[in-house]
Symmetry: D2
Subunit: 339 residues, 4 copies
């Protein structure tokens, strides 16, 4: 009970709206049909999800000039908050060859304008987080990108965005690939380089655990890089799961549960406080069920971590002995007998 | 010239229609907008592609009872043939949990009916090839599939389909994953097991070079397994390219060109004769340009292979020395100096 | 208690000797130094491992004409049995370009002789299992292998080996890669094709869970393919763990614990009975600790499976709903609350 | 001819000594036996390699206090130079759990001492490059590392090393994994973060093209990150090849030849000047043949790049059109017809 209280003081639970929508892929473009097809429908489903406190809204799709005034009430009527607004830099054909790092100047300018617009909406909603994900800013083939210019354009574009409203916290979300075969901002380390290059105080990182896994990272180490040693640049967390090779956006805890438990331990150790948001694509599942199961794993693991003896975990971390690490994880997870 | 003639006698060049369409992905569902949006538009673009002789048509989308009579003329007016009809077992929400191996009997029955329908259309068009790709028949999570039953249902369903019209050649297309995280029919070897289990003379394999790469196979070895040692079960070939981890459906030859050259050598050595069909998704490129570049690489490599001295290649294959293999590939590809 | 009894009736616990040795890699050839360096030392350590019943012996290294007479007593004095003899087809430079499928006939003949020799020793030790792993039979580069001949040689060589002593059970162990970048016998399905092609009753498969994961397989599905639907060709099981991209040979249960639980469930469902043998490389850990932790996870999971209600698991398998699969796995593993 | 001259002015060709040694792996610890087994033998082979100008020497193995005086003559007698000295932080059991970032202070101190020692030898040999590769500094399991401390220790240790002799250029070599399943310094971006954190002028990066590929990077983009936009921190280049999933250390150009061509183009564009050194492990090939084939591909590609029209390549880079990128690569590589 005490444990639950403490977790509630640290974290808030959010969800991206596709969790409650009808997820499509390139084969079944109309979606597999288990979720809602309208914003209102998705919000209604979200409102039914026990424990859920916030939802992410994508610019132009969910939030725009016409509903920016009414959205707060739409959400609060359902007991929800906006945990984040996401700039639409990747859902339209105009971003096919990039947004902030597109090879042509007009597209880059349009991307900066798009970022600024969503940042203004975020300000209007109370300085909520803004997510900038440069999924289209990359390349598919060798000899398809001027890497130097692309990096420079990213630094400039992010700088222009972050400077627009210094009170709005702006997150950079990294991902190794998809929809491009190579995305420029592809790792926690590169995100930090970008943040350092821009040098704005309201700029941080969004760590998506699935993106970390699919980039060959351990998500806990990525969090420590972003937030540890005084960095404090982990602004926001996305949770989902995958098999390590692709952003499968699976239900949280479904396959990499030990690494998830370690990640949640490190969030606590690093004193991260803020949103834990589901970025799950339940293509073939009921969204509500996918969210409940995700939150159930999260709750189980947060409870385990809170009830664990920190000094025992620290001792294992300092020992660096693999067998002890496995024993610790097993005993935490199953409460199994000591070997 | 002689070389070109011989290639033309062996192979026919085809394309899947998405090459000329507006390819979408899960982020940009409306497509990146560089292709045609109607069947007629795609066929018109296909007709402009030098060297292209055939197109694949997907059941219900491109071919159905209403146009089965007029389609041959639609195609021949454009100088095209139908190289293959594909059963629609993966584009609709009803196949979300599988087709021939769906956990519920009505869906399995519907899938068999779908296969039979497309086989009848194939018969009507002159016994053209039929493709069965079980992209939805798999699973995403542990504890989500009864693997034994799934295999049995695949054997029964494929058997029912193949028996429907013994003169229509039916191809099984394998793929490791996507849209499921695990697809049951995932390798050349498993395809052969399925073919053996069914035991029908009109059943063979479709080898997609990108699927082979993304499954950890060498496509040439997969072709040898399917077609060599008297097997003769390689019925059809899809060409595209990727980085080895995902079915990126890139332009042919764009990154794995040496393995492609080896694959084309082996097609000749195995005496495969038939279609070489592009299964490329030019999300951000003009389809016509993507097809032309794909065919340009194919033509260059076929010419290189025809002009090579087979006894030299055979000597290297028998030697099994890696340095000689690299030298051979380099000299074939660049005509570079002997080391 | 009842559960423990039943497990003990089904399975015997074994270990490969490197678990207790000083594991080396290509960087630290002298080994990381935590294990024994002699056979006797490794056996002494094995004897101290609670629950361990058998060890695998590699031909020429651990078992040979000089010690074949004394080995049974060496083992029984320590309360151990030989669970398997492995043909040495991969530890010496003479197999650099292959064993049964080497490009030169003398090497192939030597490999057959090596197989026969180890099979004779297996007969002498009471018809224990023999493992044939063709780790060197593959290729590293394009244009380095005559795939047709290689397959034919494998069929012939395995046939010659299996026929040598029909009462000795011979296992084919598959692996996607390492030490070659491509190994010919690379999947459960290809192993079955090989078994089918040889057609010997004493021929089956060794499933190494880490090899399955690193080949993109789900190990439970691989087991069902090998042993289900009346096949009954799963002769032997190796357990270890990895991140899905390489044969890391990690401690069992360390990262892919949910998939391991599913695998153990399927062994029971398929009525596999026999050895569960550790093939772990504890490079930097005490071997005894690595084995104990592996067996602790195995014991925990076997107990969980035995205490579960089979009808509940079956219901989830038949439903094919991902959210239910995740809920089942979570509740089995943690005994967590129902959602 | 002109082209050759220019290349010779830009680059010097080197090799790691395992190219000429008897490469071993964890299965065949005695090595596959095609190379020399002594330092002198490896140097003699190196001396026979046309075009080779330098070799890398590993501390304690190839260079030590006893031969530091005689080594320059040993090399110059063979027409060779030392292109780099590598600190031995990974070949001995004492580094099993790390070197500069080991969990225990004495090991960290010993690692700093080892770095300083090799830096002194590098000074004695004329301020040649020093390579620091932290292959053992990582972890294998969740809960096995204190990521914050590890990073801090790396910053301190590298700082202590770099400060020892400010005139000796020190390179940080990154790699995603192997021998650990996770290595702390795993990407070009993280290497830059480390360099930035240390802040020493004599500190730069070693880019190994195989490490880049196996980390999901495009090597050309990694080079641009390290050396472009005024960074100038690409100090040294290792060349080899692989399939994108593991550090296979294959012959240069053997499979990813188009990406290699792009990389070499970018080295020129970024005005990198210095060593191009082979880090190939020819397990089963004659080292001399592996080196010759590697250099042959390098020479062919450097010639192609020098003869290409830069404005044409730049136009394609700025266009960002995949089909044009593929056409460019094909025409450069084969001189094929325009499409």
């Amino acid at each position: 009970m005490q444990a639950k209280q403490e977790t509630e003081n640290r974290y808030r639970l959010g969800a991206c709206l596709p969790v409650f929508g009808s997820c499509a892929d390139r084969y079944c473009l109309s979606g597999y049909g288990r979720g809602a097809s309208t914003l209102e429908g998705m919000l209604d489903l979200a409102a039914q999800c026990p424990g859920l406190q916030g939802v992410e809204l994508v610019g132009n799709w969910h939030i725009h000039d016409d509903n920016i005034g009414s959205m707060p009430k739409e959400l609060s009527d359902r007991g929800l908050a906006a945990c984040m607004l996401t700039a639409d830099l990747w859902t339209q054909a105009k971003w096919a060859r990039g947004s902030l790092a597109a090879p042509d100047a007009p597209t880059r300018a349009a991307a900066v304008a798009e970022c600024r617009k969503v940042i203004e909406w975020a300000e209007a909603m109370g300085n909520v987080f803004v997510d900038l994900w440069f999924g289209q800013d990359g390349y598919d083939y060798p000899f398809q990108s001027d890497y130097e210019s692309a990096w420079q354009w990213l630094v400039e574009g992010v700088g222009a965005a972050a400077a627009h409203r210094p009170n709005v916290p702006v997150c950079i979300e990294y991902k190794l690939k998809e929809p491009r075969t190579h995305i420029h901002v592809n790792s926690a380390a590169k995100t930090l380089l970008l943040i350092d290059a821009v040098g704005a105080g309201n700029l941080g990182a969004l760590l998506d655990t699935g993106h970390a896994l699919a980039a060959g990272e351990n998500a806990a180490e990525a969090a420590a890089l972003l937030h540890g040693n005084g960095r404090k640049r982990l602004f926001y967390v996305h949770l989902n799961d995958n098999y390590g090779l692709w952003d499968d956006d699976m239900i949280v805890g479904s396959v990499r549960v030990i690494e998830l438990m370690e990640f949640l331990y490190w969030l606590r150790r690093l004193d991260y406080r803020g949103w834990l948001t589901l970025d799950v694509f339940p293509y073939r599942e009921e969204g509500l069920a996918a969210a409940r199961e995700s939150f159930a794993w999260i709750a189980d693991l947060l409870r385990i971590i809170e009830e664990a003896r920190p000094e025992e975990i620290e001792r294992v971390l300092q020992a660096g002995d693999g067998a002890e690490s496995v024993r610790l994880a097993r005993r935490l997870l199953t409460g199994g007998n000591q070997t």
